[in-house]
Symmetry: C2
Subunit: 100 residues, 2 copies
């Protein structure tokens, strides 16, 4: 599969990040990635169709929250913690520390 474009730190926009995280499905993906470090798309689908998940991963990727790398036929996703912290210090931590 082809490579994805990941926005650079200087391209990150807080409104896009907030928007991406305002969806329950995506917020849940991000919480799991924060806990587990990295995961494939399939590991986080919660029973949803692949095409729906692919959409959500795209939003997370294009807003700069998640990095996706190819690993055989699967895609490994990780949180871009350092990049987010450098662009928006404290933001991700504040969101992730909310219970639930």
């Amino acid at each position: 599969m082809r490579q994805f474009r990941h926005p650079s730190v200087s391209e990150l926009q807080v409104a896009s990040v907030l928007y991406a995280l305002s969806d329950p499905v995506r917020l849940s993906i991000v919480r799991q990635l924060a806990r587990e470090g990295e995961a494939t798309c399939a590991a986080l689908d919660g029973g949803r169709p692949k095409s729906s998940m692919s959409h959500h991963f795209r939003v997370l990727r294009e807003s700069g929250i998640v990095h996706t790398r190819n690993d055989g036929t699967s895609h490994m996703n990780t949180l871009r913690r350092d990049d987010l912290d450098s662009a928006f210090p404290g933001l991700l931590g504040a969101i992730l520390s909310v219970p639930r």
Copy 2:
């Protein structure tokens, strides 16, 4: 005019707050309120129609970000800083400290 309902701290939901703040118009309203303490709706309209602004203030109010009180014929809006800090420590600060 009638009184508005403001959600209590325990009712606040991080996804709703993030959603409300992901809109450029609303984010700009919140930034100005943070700087200026309080303001009427008209003072923050930036030339937009009243009905559009009323919509945005409603979203901010219903997500618990803004408190609106009646003051004669106008509405005074304030940021619910303490409430937000108590529900989501550090979140508002992280967002407001982003330049621009």
